[in-house]
Symmetry: C2
Amino acid sequence: MREAKRMIGRRAAGGIAAGTAMALATPNLAAATPRIRWRSPGSFPKSVDTLWAAHERFCQKVSELTDGAFQLVPSGPGEIVPALQVMDAVGQGSVECGFTGAGFYFGKDPTLAIGAAVPFGPSSRHTWSWLQAGGGREIMRDVYRDQGVHAIPMACTGAQMGGWFRKEIRTPEDMKGLKFRIAGLGGAVVTRLGAVAQQLAPGDIYPSLERGVIDGAEYIGPYDDEKLGFHRIAKYYYYPGWQEYAPSVDMMVNAKLWDALPAHYRAAMEAAGTETWHWVMARYDVLNPPALRRLIGSGTLLRAYPRDVLAATYRATQEVYAELGEKDGRFRRVWEHWDRHRLEQVQWFRVAEDSLANFIAVSTAR
Amino acid sequence: MREAKRMIGRRAAGGIAAGTAMALATPNLAAATPRIRWRSPGSFPKSVDTLWAAHERFCQKVSELTDGAFQLVPSGPGEIVPALQVMDAVGQGSVECGFTGAGFYFGKDPTLAIGAAVPFGPSSRHTWSWLQAGGGREIMRDVYRDQGVHAIPMACTGAQMGGWFRKEIRTPEDMKGLKFRIAGLGGAVVTRLGAVAQQLAPGDIYPSLERGVIDGAEYIGPYDDEKLGFHRIAKYYYYPGWQEYAPSVDMMVNAKLWDALPAHYRAAMEAAGTETWHWVMARYDVLNPPALRRLIGSGTLLRAYPRDVLAATYRATQEVYAELGEKDGRFRRVWEHWDRHRLEQVQWFRVAEDSLANFIAVSTAR
């Protein structure tokens, strides 16, 4: 925080960021291969090693693609900017770029949540097709620009888990009064079901669950959850993670710096983003199954949310969207855009993709 | 073909390809940003506009990432190399690189099929996680190197459709005697079911089906199939495409040229490959649903393969793999590697991914 203030102080004094912007704007450099070094603070601590590795990998890829000319230096939360102020620091130009999730900032603008993860949102493939070929990047552009940033989708976890509970969830009634740590718009949804939503930083979840301050918590999936040790204090592990089906987090770049960047450096950042987005998911896909086996081996009881709990949650979610859309015309417009895409994809996937997935799942069941 | 002979003639005379390799090997150039121009013949005609667009996009991305220094010039099948000789031309160095599918060449080495698509293979996401984080690229490396090429996964269609038939397929018995156009290892599978497998080039499928030379044909999916007009001569459109769940096709680069390429040019080709692989699938995902609606609107009858037909096909597939594995130790080793990955992923996906996909499919059914 002190460091972040120092950064902002520097900027006020016409410091590093502004200097970099001017250097980039110099015509002879813009046409060539300027040597650039940017700071890239991130919201994800080194303990979430998958996302930290993604941050390092992205920076490495940009360096490789530019033959070492364009260097990004990753740092963890609190090193130069606090975890949940990365977008602000980038937008204001106190740092050049940073790795964060738009969903953290939905209090500033609810539409930012659609750039990250919203309850019962699209699957990873539907998210990607929306972003890359369905007009998603284009419609989200202004949403990010209003925050002073250009956003490059950079990591996705795939479907998360529903969460850890000390007691079984048998009916929608069991959600009533439950103190549940849940991120983002998911909180508004469970509030409608009578739960008490809690927003807690990752490091605070375990002690809160241990002391009974909360009754349940969702975090990410088997690999990350195991490291935080939830299985030692909560027995029931629910799926699916309706609140985060395919959360996408971004490399955010100060918009003015982005516009001044040579085209091949912009291409390098975009390509590194795509490469890393899919690499992170591939890594999670490889790491999660053995982690889930270890959890089950240590006594965790895997449970599917009962169908009527999911159905009540789905209805509450639609109400939350309708309410947000009434208050905010842009949210409604963007939500309708991705919802059309999502529904079309869901319908099509029932034909060739899901039918084969389901046949194979049954045929290979052990 | 004449052009291909001319190319080979040139190469025999120590022509372009060898010259390029020598230029690349010059130390002062290797460290800098040499201007390179390579020919990139492809196996997919311009009429398959999605894959042709992928070919153009890949070349464009490589150019963007290298600030225009590294140029690839795409060409269609037969322009400089015949469609199904691209790998050979690249491996022999008569062209520098080319866009083709390893599955076309499984007659040379059955393990090549695993780099492309095999019956009841992994889904798109499981294919990608195998390639990028599950050791797939590494284990396939020597398989490609034996053909003289380095392969970069460059396009995926997602799950294809099962095919077009003039009559309904109600039981496994209905496959007996059926003359069915089917690509790759799928042919060996349907042969076990008593069908007569036909390998036909795309342009020959329609006239063969129209004249009754064949009784059915699989090609790709709604968007591409519609353009070939199968719905005008066959009423039943079956799903899922068990023979090609997530076919992956490659940019193949002559292995010696690849090794001599500056590291940031290799990085550019790899990044362009990843970007294009996912872009092609995103495009198919966006284009297929309206195409399927148009087909149904024009009278096509959509049919799911009956469960016992799929089950018989699945059993026949496992027999084909076992037989290939007995004959070829490397096939068995690679097949076991991806099959382990596939089964682990299928099991894990039943938890968080498929359960949510299925709930949403039912909740949004129209």
